[in-house]
């Protein structure tokens, strides 16, 4: 094996003719790819293109129906993730497989071999974690409980966990969606350094620019098949996108000649809220207003008060009446249903379990949020035909891929469920729409569709607030932008008067202060 290892012409990992079928779908069909030593290799594809399945096969979670895996030139049969880890394959999951009730150190310990099998001593593990996290610029307190951590911090756990195992191949599934541009830059430095130290990286992302910046080779999947293998540095964003999805334009087009209404449709004034849970963020004197026809973007790194602001706007947490006004009506002390009646619709960040009830069919999920506005019930009775028609319209209008209105919400892929959750609210034609993370973990095609729908709604005179950590997205759709940091909101500025770097620095500078205080 050592001979092969030293022979650069032998790929580190090679897949030959991988096929994996599930009832009703062929997720991977005759997929072949090879990853060289020290290579940063991109795996590109829309949601449902078969990336996740392929990655699960490489990580030993799934077994292929056909085809071979060769590790350093030798065929291997991965019986499970631990077999993959023994070979030196590490993985940072997109949906972090963390144990919420356990501490950072305990989570990492679980994923490492026990001491007898070459792992670390329990007692010294926290020190090793602090060491690695400092070395790679990933601040992390090993004693904190995962329950209290933000999405960004959770991702760091996964990365540190992998780094502790000295992997030969590191799989990163959409790692940058929760980071600031500066943090992304730092992560890329880390990854490049790892690659120069001999660790190959399989990088999965839908952000095409990132792939062009970072990767040397890209394998592009569409419909379960490899459609191209190329050097992304030789390609343009548009040509990569064309290979990935065909022909859909990537940038949402802003409808021309939008007229802003004079009056504020959504007004938030002096909104303060103590932290709702341990390590939550308190909201401090947040004020902003959005006019009809306008999209306000709220940028910020995860864990700076976005979910807290969202709950206060939805009405899950009540404040005082004048804190929130919808079309002039004070609603700060009204619950979510009353606010919906006042003309506002909301899409929270977590689509499975917050925006939708995962086990319920789409038809009922539509009813749950739209019954009043769309008249889907009468006198307590469900009008099943109206309910089914509404869900059907949302599915059709927003091209949600689902087996039908009877499909359980959780059976949809992330992108499709997000299209349904956003579409369900937009279809109600609200006067005010608040969306948290509209395209998190959503493929490029779906993201563009969602962004276009948001712009179209604003063009019809609605006031829209988009909370997002994706600056490209905010710059693509927002008219004004403000930054959330530590529960405070900066003064909104028109998009034409700020640059992505300025906003990024504002987010990143404050983030640096924050981590300096907690570590």
């Amino acid at each position: 094996m050592n001979d092969n290892h030293n022979d650069p012409s032998t790929p580190l990992l090679e897949l030959r003719g991988i096929r994996k079928a599930f009832p009703g779908v062929v997720a991977n069909d005759d997929v072949s790819l090879s990853i060289k030593h020290s290579e940063i290799h991109a795996l590109l594809g829309e949601n449902g293109a078969g990336k996740s399945t392929l990655v699960k096969i490489i990580y030993g979670v799934l077994r292929p129906d056909q085809g071979d895996l060769l590790w350093q030139g030798k065929p291997v049969d991965l019986a499970g993730p631990s077999a993959a880890r023994d070979l030196g394959i590490g993985m940072v999951f997109q949906h972090f497989s963390l144990f919420e009730a356990l501490s950072v150190a305990e989570n990492i310990e679980l994923a490492l071999p026990s001491k007898g099998e070459g792992g670390f001593d329990r007692a010294e593990l926290p020190d090793r974690i602090s060491e690695v996290s400092a070395q790679y610029g990933l601040p992390l307190d090993p004693r904190r409980t995962v329950l209290d951590l933000s999405v960004g911090e959770r991702q760091r756990i996964e990365i540190v966990r992998c780094l502790l195992q000295d992997p030969k191949l590191l799989i990163m599934d959409e790692p940058t969606s929760v980071l600031t541009p500066q943090e992304v830059g730092r992560l890329f430095e880390t990854l490049r350094r790892l690659a120069s130290e001999g660790c190959a990286i399989l990088y999965i992302s839908h952000k095409l620019q990132e792939i062009r910046d970072l990767c040397e080779t890209a394998t592009i999947l569409r419909g379960g098949k490899v459609v191209a293998t190329c050097d992304p540095r030789q390609q343009s964003v548009q040509s990569l996108a064309n290979m990935m999805i065909g022909e859909t334009p990537l940038k949402p087009e802003r409808p021309a000649g939008r007229v802003l209404e004079k009056s504020n449709r959504l007004e938030v004034r002096g909104l303060s809220l103590p932290a709702q849970k341990a390590f939550g963020t308190a909201l401090k004197d947040i004020s902003f207003s959005v006019r009809g026809g306008e999209v306000l973007g709220l940028a910020g790194v995860a864990g700076n008060g976005q979910p807290e602001l969202m709950t206060a706007l939805i009405g899950e947490v009540l404040t005082y009446p004048e804190a929130v006004r919808i079309d002039g009506q004070p609603v700060g002390r009204l619950g979510p249903r009353r606010r919906r009646e006042a003309g506002a619709c909301f899409v929270p960040e977590e689509r499975n379990g917050h925006a939708t009830a995962p086990d319920m069919p789409l038809a009922d999920n539509g009813l749950l949020s739209a019954d009043r506005r769309m008249g889907l019930t009468r006198g307590g009775w469900i009008l099943s035909r109206a309910r089914d028609r509404f869900a059907g319209e949302v599915i059709q209008r927003f091209s949600v891929k689902a087996s039908g209105i009877g499909a359980a919400a959780k059976s949809l892929s992330g992108g499709n469920l997000q299209k349904f959750s956003v579409g369900r609210e937009i279809a109600q034609n609200p006067g005010v729409l608040v969306i948290n993370q509209p395209t998190w973990g959503v493929d490029a095609g779906s993201a563009a569709a969602i962004q276009e729908a948001i712009l179209a709604l604003a063009a019809e005179g609605a006031a829209v607030v988009v909370i997002s950590q994706d600056l490209d997205e905010l710059f693509a759709i927002a008219d004004r932008i403000a930054v959330m940091s530590e529960g405070k909101l900066s003064r909104p500025k028109p998009i034409g008067e700020v640059t992505i770097e300025e906003i990024g620095l504002l987010m990143g500078g404050i983030q640096g202060e924050k981590t300096g205080a907690t570590v």
Binding site: P81, F99, A101, L102, L110, S114
Partner: protein, 306 residues
């Protein structure tokens, strides 16, 4: 031996079966499995322990038989819920009903027979200390076992890797599976341990608490053990406190009844249940703590094939 010593001794006797059964259920639930069949496993353990003890004349063999019988019942539960993916609540309820019926059948020939109560271990000198001596050093083996088990369970969950894996499986079976732990195997072991402990609790009832066999002799103690686990927020130390509180009030109300207080005996009999639940509800009011200790996957069926 004075009256106070006797009183305290009887409190320990009342608390021990609850503690044993609840510790077993605590481990089962921490792995994410809700086994409502504690009462059934306990009573089958009780009758098997009694039968073996009577026919062999060996109390130790009886105790072992109780544990094995409890584990065998748990194996049925495990097979149905973990292998056949049946609903845990329904299966647990069925297990209790089945256990009560089965125990009556096995116990038919043993009604009315008495055995010598489980021998107390008299440690020379120490057990002669007034008041504390008999309590601390003059108990039978199962009482010590139950107290040691509290420490062992605490240590296992906090300090060992196996305990960490157990908590992880209960917190998120999908994440545990993704890392490569065998969720089903770990849950089988936890369920078997729970069954063996419930069987021991049953053995204690039929060999030490009231050394005879009577149908339905567990009298709802399995359910109290279940409640104790929840209200102790899955922490062994609180479980100990809850079990002894329940035991204490059980004995006190018995004494009060015999002293002829003018309170209907039915109300007095309710007292231990009411008081235990009330106290545990109050001390477990911290939601954040519950979220931290409650196994998030409790009662959820795990489909390994996905």
């Amino acid at each position: 031996m004075d009256a106070l010593t006797l009183l305290l001794l009887s409190v320990m006797t009342a608390a021990t079966p609850l503690l044993l059964a609840a510790l077993g259920e605590l481990i089962t639930e921490k792995s994410g499995v809700l086994n409502l069949g504690v009462e059934g496993m306990m009573i089958v353990g009780a009758v098997c322990a009694f039968a073996v003890s009577v026919s062999t004349g060996n109390a130790a063999a009886g105790i072992a038989a109780g544990a094995v019988a409890g584990a065998a019942m748990a194996l049925i539960f495990g097979f149905l819920t973990l292998t056949m993916l049946a609903n845990q609540v329904a299966t647990g309820l069925a297990l209790t009903i089945f256990g009560i019926g089965l125990s009556a059948l096995i116990g038919k020939g043993y009604v009315g027979i008495a055995v010598a109560p489980l021998a107390k271990l008299h440690i020379p000198l120490l057990s002669d200390i007034p008041l504390l001596g008999p309590i601390l050093f003059g108990q039978d083996a199962l009482v010590y076992l139950s107290l040691l088990s509290v420490l062992a369970v605490y240590w296992f969950m906090k300090r060992t890797r196996a305990g960490l894996v157990l908590r992880a499986v209960g917190d998120s079976h999908e994440a545990a599976h993704a890392i490569g732990y065998s969720v089903i195997r770990i849950r089988y072991l936890a369920v078997l341990f729970g069954g063996a402990m419930a069987g021991l609790a049953g053995a204690y009832l039929s060999l030490a608490y009231t050394p005879l066999w009577a149908e339905n002799m567990t009298a709802g103690r399995g359910w109290i053990a279940l409640a104790l686990v929840v209200f102790s927020t899955w922490r062994p130390g609180r479980l100990l406190a809850g079990a002894y509180l329940f035991g204490g009030i059980t004995i006190l109300q018995l004494h009060a009844q015999s002293a002829g207080w003018g309170v209907p005996s039915q109300i007095m009999s309710m007292l231990p249940y009411l008081a235990t639940i009330l106290v545990l509800v109050i001390i477990s009011g911290d939601r954040a703590k519950i979220r931290l200790n409650a196994p998030a996957c409790l009662g959820k069926v795990f489909h390994p094939a996905q």
